[in-house]
């Protein structure tokens, strides 16, 4: 199992993702550079968080033109597992690999906090060993994490089980107050139709050590390996 973590100009959590996979979870990892095309034979790809190009114009808008994205696109089309975290999620939406878009938080301000999310489907490589309905405590940190899509797209997502994570309260219930950013249907993460490309706003890579507040996030990485 070999992971690739892409560094774009403006990526911030790329180093954290590498640290999480390599040092904490003991995985084999390579750092991929946005100007390269070679994926170095990785088995799974993570697009990490940060502020690609300063989030100027729109979050993630300018990333899909990076040379590496052509390779990521082909990798995804071939069924390879791709995980987009936060800014990585925004990039996947902008690149058309995931449906919908992410807009300014309802509060209009950046939010850094710990939240609860519920796993809605185990049918992705990143949730394969989670139970449906399992609750995870992960941090969020974003200014534009409000998930939107038109009504038809939302219906398709719900019908096909492409909603992977939803914001919930500690008891696992969706509610307005449990929704930190105004996302439609409390959506925290979605998958493509095939299920191999997943994007989410919360940061699993920041929840892998008890010393730093919890380790629920490691499930997304550990189980992916088992599932592949």
């Amino acid at each position: 199992m070999k992971w690739g973590v892409v560094t774009f100009p403006g990526s911030c959590d790329d180093r954290d993702t590498l640290y999480c996979l390599e040092t904490v979870l003991g995985q084999q990892v390579v750092a991929l550079w946005h100007k390269d095309r070679d994926l170095q034979g990785v088995d799974a790809i993570v697009l990490p968080g940060g502020f690609f190009y300063g989030d100027y114009l729109r979050c993630g808008a300018l990333a899909r033109f990076s040379p590496i994205m052509q390779s990521v696109y082909e990798f995804a089309q071939a069924g390879g597992p791709v995980l987009g975290i936060c800014n990585g999620f925004q990039i996947l939406c902008e690149a058309g690999l995931l449906p919908g878009a992410l807009v300014r938080n309802r509060s209009l301000s950046f939010i850094c906090d710990w939240v609860w999310i519920r796993v809605e489907t185990p049918r992705t490589p990143f949730t394969a060993a989670c139970r449906t309905g399992e609750i995870l405590r992960l941090p969020i940190k974003h200014g534009e994490g409000c998930y939107v899509a038109d009504a038809a797209t939302l219906r398709t997502l719900e019908d096909n089980g492409q909603v992977v994570f939803r914001y919930v309260d500690a008891a696992g219930q969706t509610s307005e107050t449990a929704n930190p950013n105004g996302s439609l249907h409390n959506i925290a993460g979605v998958a493509n139709a095939r299920g191999n490309v997943v994007g989410l706003m919360p940061h699993p890579e920041h929840a892998v050590e008890p010393l730093l507040g919890g380790e629920d996030g490691s499930k997304l990485f550990r189980l992916a390996c088992a599932a592949l």
Partner: protein
Amino acid sequence: MLAKVYVTPKKAILDPQGKAIAHSLHALDYPEVVDVRMGKYLEVRLTGLSRAQAEQRVEEMCRRLLANLVIEDFRFELVEE
């Protein structure tokens, strides 16, 4: 040549910024405000293109980069300088 590009949120899509601005305008005592939509305005300065070329190139820039058609509409005008 100057391309003035207007990018606006699609009608059906949430516009939290527009909503917040309308709210503040009400609080500032402008009850006449019915609704606010917040978009982007870009001035793209171009050189060496005919009007027809510019028309086609700017359209393409908008589709590829300047607007996200999932959530935004765009229009533009060209102004000779």
